[in-house]
Symmetry: C2
Subunit: 226 residues, 2 copies
Amino acid sequence: MGEPAVQKINRTGEIAKWIRGEIESGALPPGARLEERPLSERFGVSKTPVREALIQLASLGLVDLRQRRGATVTVLSVEQVVSMFEVMTEMEGMAAKLAASRMPPDERKALAEIHAEAAAFVERGDSSAYDLANTRLHECIYRGACNEFLEFNIKDMRARLRVYRRYPFQKPGRIEQSHEDHAQIVDAILRGDGPTANRIMHEHITTGGRVFADLVAQMPRIWEQG
Amino acid sequence: MGEPAVQKINRTGEIAKWIRGEIESGALPPGARLEERPLSERFGVSKTPVREALIQLASLGLVDLRQRRGATVTVLSVEQVVSMFEVMTEMEGMAAKLAASRMPPDERKALAEIHAEAAAFVERGDSSAYDLANTRLHECIYRGACNEFLEFNIKDMRARLRVYRRYPFQKPGRIEQSHEDHAQIVDAILRGDGPTANRIMHEHITTGGRVFADLVAQMPRIWEQG
DNA sequence: TATCTCATTTTTGATTTCAAAAAAAATATG
DNA sequence: CATATTTTTTTTGAAATCAAAAATGAGATA
């Protein structure tokens, strides 16, 4: 556990994945410095693969790499978070719309099952279990859209925004609201009603965004702690 | 001219930009091998910054980097091109919709001017001049959407798809059709009619996509040449 | 002649080394 | 005592070097 599971082959890739995981989980918060030597010692490799991993993450926007200034975990401005969120909302709507017409029968069945399972978590008020089911349901829809590029990009955006929406189901009544939205979305998709699926999904994500806007407002405070 | 203009500072970044330009212009066609030593000799640097540049481009999806197999310019499958195009269409529509409500007055004026200028190129049948004006018009709309993330991503997708749509205005009547679409889009944006701007833009890009689908069908033939 | 095996060459992936820029610390100055 | 300046240390960026994997080519065998 202490030693990271870095394969002896493909060092840069494994290191990049590891650092990425720490950024997305919040273990490395926005603004955190990423020095080459400490990281290389931690992974038991030379600086080069670490540098290469940082370059990789920098071009994905997860890391900020300034000339001769070293690397830090990217700090998104409120404007950037809002603009990413806005695009994500549109893409989620698009995925729902496409899924309504393209999703194959077995995946439709799986979608209904995931939604049914989630009902139990709503009942119990188990927010972390619901969070997982929520992710599974949304990812099922991305996949159902039958567009690899769309699927990849939504997942990427979600991962990048995750740090900024750590507790999406804390607010009272939020789980219930989310589950009701899902019911309508799943229904529309199963009926093959793309426009409705699109509209409800759009509203669903926007509503989530409002909860999330409260977090954004607190951003400076949250980060000052680390 | 023969010597690339690589700054002595920030070698990796400059090299990445250079290679990227060659990929997007088509000078380095999909599938072309990118060996470290030849590139480093060409740029007059060691292998290290070249490797780093290739890693950067690989994480952007422009270059395919396989373990111990070296780098090649990414070859997008027909499915990948189609899925990227589908997402781009949606994003262009989104940009037009947002621009209709957000574009500031001076930019609206500029938009109308670009469109007016393009009329002359349509008259002359100057497809390369029209191509440039077309790009300017579309980029004006992205900017008008006031969403940095959206703007960046559309431009990125456009750049990546460029190789696959080398001659978008060759087909007879295509310039005229495009210009007429623009007239409607510009009008809707200036009127602040988001839904119409969205719808016409969506159709506009989809129509372009049909021309482009012919190219896609020829893809294997085009590449076999290089 | 075609194909398989083995040796050679090439190319990648990574460590070590080195130079230069930035950050930190120590010293001087008002 | 605070601030400015110089010196030292640290850290990045790149080159040179090295090891190992893959590609290439030569020779043997059917």
